[in-house]
């Protein structure tokens, strides 16, 4: 049973590390590549775009869900680069629970997450293209409504003006 997988690249001079339920899996272990693939297979997962600096993906709907979180610890490697990690957290009820679990697993290996890097809101932010299209469609619709209102008002005014002019021309004392 996979509860969690954690991959870290904590040194540029040594192999990456992969932990399955807290146990280090060696690169020569046949499970290594398969477990690594689990962390990378996010193409069909739902991505949460909630402003987090980490990339967060959800598998499953409703109660128990799995989360894949990719980001960087506050810890630095030999080159002063923030250490990248990827984690698969299984059987979680919420992103908050997954975040807590990830922080707990990471701290066991002396890695620290910047708390603000993972926002726990599961609401999506609209991306730029969708925002642009929505703006054009809504803007077009408002423009259309304004135009039809103005056009309708102009037609009424014109009809009223013609009536007035007609009445003047027929009733004017000068015509008599």
């Amino acid at each position: 049973m996979i509860n969690n997988i954690l991959w870290v690249q904590d040194s540029i001079n040594a192999d990456t590390k992969l932990f399955l339920n807290g146990t280090l899996i060696s690169h020569s272990d046949e499970r290594f590549q398969r477990l690594y693939s689990v962390l990378c297979a996010t193409d069909s997962d739902r991505k949460i775009q909630n402003g987090s600096k980490c990339e967060i993906f959800i598998q499953g709907k409703g109660g128990q869900k799995s989360y894949i979180i990719k980001g960087r610890y506050s810890n630095l490697d030999e080159n002063g680069r923030r250490i990248p990690f990827m984690a698969y957290i299984n059987n979680m009820m919420s992103l908050q629970q997954a975040k807590d679990e990830l922080m707990s697993i990471s701290s066991k290996h002396n890695f620290e997450i910047v708390s603000d890097d993972i926002s726990v809101s599961e609401k999506k932010k609209m991306n730029l293209l969708i925002t642009l299209l929505m703006t054009i469609i809504i803007g077009g619709a408002i423009g259309y409504l304004v135009y039809t209102c103005v056009a309708s008002a102009t037609n009424k005014t014109r009809e009223a003006t013609i009536e007035t002019i007609d009445s003047i021309s027929f009733d004017s004392p000068n015509t008599k």
Partner: protein, 207 residues
């Protein structure tokens, strides 16, 4: 007087223009695949080319980048499709290298490695040779149409880097039989932290 429903026509024209521009951009765009071991300058290069700030941070499996255009000194503009910045970890070779380079879209494949680590770390050297062997094997049939760049980085860390780089490429061709790949490669030796070297590399890019 404007005809009735004019805003609808305008909206339609705007949408058609946007879709047309997007289609034209995606039709002309090329692929740029940047590969290599850890800390070899891949992300630094991509950030420079995309004109975005480089943050000193490791890359996880791969990180997507949006389409972008870069301009060369001679005025040529090169449009690049959205793609990925691949992490340098060994486990990415099996997972991503083949699917990245074996596509029909016109592309440039760039392979970065540190000359300093190649000369001073045997396991790094073996790793570089294995990766280049994999690329040659998968990319051989595309070498006539696509471009391959071998970028030997961190030249500033090695004295007499020009001769050392020549020795390395001769060794890769003769001892490690990477002749097919390297005889068609554009070979560049750069200091990845020097902007004029990166600018020079950009001006020599041909996709």
């Amino acid at each position: 007087m404007l005809p009735f429903g004019y805003p609808i026509y305008l909206l339609f024209a705007v949408l058609v223009t946007i879709i047309g521009a997007w289609h034209k951009l995606s039709k002309d765009a090329k692929e740029l695949i940047v590969l290599g071991p850890l800390a070899s300058g891949k992300t630094l290069w991509l950030c420079f080319l995309r004109n975005v700030e480089y943050k000193n941070a490791g890359t996880f499996d791969r990180e997507s980048f949006p389409p972008f255009t870069f301009k060369k000194k001679n005025g040529d503009s090169i449009k690049i499709k959205s793609g990925y910045d691949y992490g340098g970890q060994e486990e990415n070779i099996k997972l991503y290298y083949e699917q990245a380079i074996c596509t029909s879209t016109p592309k440039a494949v760039m392979f970065f490695f540190s000359i300093y680590d190649y000369l001073n770390n045997d396991s790094y050297k073996r790793d570089v040779i294995a990766r280049l062997g994999f690329i040659e094997n998968k990319f051989r049939s595309q070498l006539d149409n696509d471009n391959f760049y071998l970028v030997i980085s961190y030249a500033d860390k090695v004295s007499d880097y020009k001769n050392k780089a020549k020795e390395i490429t001769n060794e890769l061709k003769q001892t490690h039989k990477l002749t097919d790949l390297l005889s068609k490669a554009n070979i560049m030796v750069i200091n990845a932290t020097n902007k004029s070297d990166l600018e020079n590399l950009k001006n020599k890019m041909n996709i």
